[in-house]
């Protein structure tokens, strides 16, 4: 972090608590079931889910842009902010569309929150300089917004939101409008920022890799409910439901006859372990290509996609079941070949 980026201690960071916050729209659609959520001071929670899962509604309730249904309460620290409109909640907000004021320069955008708060000119100028330097935007201060690239715009939006030293930072799909390479570099920048400022942040996205990279905890949402909340590793390695398992990464699903501690398939015996079931799940990267001695299954390659850093294989394991395997093996795989594979029993999941 830069030296001039302001003392993080000055950020009056608070935790957030949602109490039975549901949202029913006037036409009767239930966008959010009454939900309970506690976010610790300084923590980054990512709301992750497909479109229409209620993640944006939840963010807007936290922001004060939507009112929860009767009975719902939003706390910032010990303060009940439910009746306060957004302009009195002292939050910072970053939008997918950047939402920069097109009639103002970069510096004026960053200063806007300070201006409406009536901050003295000298202090305001100094704060703007701080923010410009923190976001590496020094040379763009006088630019018009339409002279900036997408990545620069989003950095200005971050600077503007942080300039008022908000109690909470809310980010609504901030990287969705950017292309893949830029998305990754700005993701790293946001990560560094959130860690160094120790600000409480709520980050909405439908992109699982963004969620994994940024979240202290991820709340996976489905149809207005939180399907699972936990650290990225918990979500990935111990998904609570099939929905979570499928939404985060990809998942193979194999059915067969139970045979002792194994599953019997036309291509061999898949070792499952003492807790056995006729359907098991495992991830593509957990399929190992092994020597014939170690092989559990002899799978036939349906198709092979060379992707550079790894190769993705679609394998036929019999009974018209295909699985996906991902391997860093540099070999050239050909459709029709038989490969011996194994799956470690620790990698196997059971979900109803």
């Amino acid at each position: 972090m830069d030296n001039n980026s302001g003392n993080p201690a000055k950020l009056n960071t608070v935790g957030i608590r949602l109490n039975a916050c549901g949202k029913t729209f006037p036409d009767g659609t239930r966008a959010l079931e009454p939900v309970q959520l506690e976010i610790n001071p300084g923590e980054t929670v990512v709301l992750l889910g497909p479109s229409g899962c209620g993640k944006t509604t939840m963010l807007r309730i936290i922001a004060g842009l939507e009112q929860p249904d009767a009975g719902g309460q939003v706390f910032f620290g010990e303060q009940d902010v439910t009746p306060l409109p957004i302009e009195q909640r002292h939050v910072g907000m970053v939008f997918q569309s950047y939402a920069l004021f097109p009639n103002m320069s970069v510096a004026e955008n960053i200063a806007y929150g300070l201006k409406v708060r009536g901050m003295a000119e000298v202090e305001k100028k100094q704060r703007v300089v701080e923010m410009l330097s923190m976001m590496h935007l020094e040379s763009f201060a006088e630019r018009r917004i339409d002279q900036l690239s997408g990545g620069q715009r989003q950095r200005v939006a971050l600077a503007r939101a942080l300039a008022v030293r908000p109690r909470v930072l809310l980010l609504d799909e901030p990287l969705t409008a950017l292309d893949a390479k830029l998305r990754e570099s700005l993701r790293a920048e946001i990560d560094r920022l959130l860690r160094s400022l120790k600000i409480t942040a709520v980050y909405v996205t439908h992109d699982q890799s963004e969620a994994m990279a940024l979240g202290d905890r991820i709340a996976v949402m489905e149809k207005g409910r939180i399907a699972q909340i936990g650290s990225p590793r918990e979500i990935y390695y111990r998904p609570a439901t099939r929905f979570v398992a499928d939404f985060i990464g990809s998942m193979n699903r194999v059915q067969g006859m139970v045979d002792g501690e194994s599953l019997q398939l036309p291509s061999g015996l898949l070792r499952v372990g003492p807790r056995v079931s006729n359907e098991v799940l495992f991830r593509p990267e957990d399929v190992r290509i092994v020597s014939n001695g170690e092989a559990q299954l002899q799978a036939k390659i349906v198709s092979a996609f060379f992707l550079g850093d790894h190769t993705r294989l679609i394998l036929d394991v019999g009974n018209e079941q295909t699985i996906t395997a991902e391997t860093v093996d540099r070999r050239e795989f050909k459709p029709g070949d038989i490969v011996p594979i194994a799956v470690d029993s620790e990698a196997i999941l059971f979900l109803e």
Binding site: P85, A99, V116, R160, A161
Partner: protein, 275 residues
């Protein structure tokens, strides 16, 4: 499809005769107008008379003042109403919007007629005020009548333009301003008015242009104030003063064209198309 150089050349050759005839028919009347303006007994000084002769000058000034006032009032009224109608969904909104478009269907003559029926000598307002105060309120034949008539046909068009522009405003901008602590009034000043600026400028310019050229309403009202189009008409028809009528037309055209061009350079290219 950007046509290749070869194709474009072929097109030009094909359409050159058409373009020539078209330009001729287009430019000829205007060129004729300019030359007639300078062809009378007074020569080029016919243009000068527009400013020196108090009769013409006062007609010019009062037309401009009237048009500017109407434009200003229309923008204020329509801006607020348009934003309100765009943002609020209430009972009767569809009906209100439908009735709003009615005046667009009436020509200026009918609007003048309506003004007389409303605030003329036998008008509704006159009857009511006579019954209430023993004195008739008659506005139709004064500046106020013209003002009312012009407002009546200006407001609906501007309201519809503002509504279309308000629909396209990025809602996230307002939310961003509010998240930064801006009060509703600050949101209006810093986000909404700047966002509507192109629509306000362009519909203002069109309103001004329409008012400058309005003839039917003024003629029907037969007001004592001679607006410029009426002065042009009477110079031409009653006094057969062709050169002065032409000079006045050119001045009127120039002022209107300047207003439109200014608006276009400030607000983008949609102005002319909607004019």
């Amino acid at each position: 499809m950007k046509p290749t150089h070869r194709e474009s050349l072929r097109h030009i050759v094909l359409l050159l005769p058409a373009l020539t005839i078209f330009s001729a028919f287009w430019l000829l009347p205007m060129a004729r107008l300019v030359s007639v303006g300078a062809s009378g007994e007074m020569g080029v000084s016919a243009y000068w008379a527009v400013i020196t002769d108090p009769r013409y000058f006062s007609s010019l000034v009062s037309t401009i003042v009237l048009s500017a006032t109407v434009t200003f009032a229309t923008i204020i009224i329509s801006g607020i109403t348009g934003m309100f109608l765009q943002r609020n969904h209430f009972f009767g909104r569809r009906f209100l919007l439908a009735t709003l478009t009615f005046p667009l269907a009436f020509p200026g003559v009918v609007v003048g007629f309506m003004v007389i029926l409303l605030v003329g000598r036998q008008g509704v307002v006159g009857s009511v005020t006579e019954w209430l105060f023993g004195e008739k309120l008659v506005l139709a034949y004064s500046m106020a009548g013209l003002f009312l008539g012009y407002l009546y046909f200006s407001i609906p068009r501007v309201i519809l333009t503002i509504m279309a522009a308000a629909e396209k405003l990025d809602g996230a901008l307002e939310e961003a301003a509010r998240s930064l602590g801006a009060s509703p009034w600050q949101v209006v000043r810093d986000v909404m008015i700047p966002g509507l600026k192109p629509a306000l400028i362009s519909s203002g310019a069109i309103c001004f242009a329409t008012s400058m050229g309005a003839f039917g309403t003024a003629f029907t009202l037969a007001t004592k104030i001679n607006v410029l189009p009426i002065t042009i008409y009477s110079e031409f028809t009653n006094y057969a003063n062709f050169s002065l009528a032409a000079a006045l037309s050119i001045v009127l055209g120039l002022i209107t064209w300047l207003a439109l061009a200014l608006a276009r350079s400030m607000a983008g290219s949609t102005v002319a198309a909607a004019a």
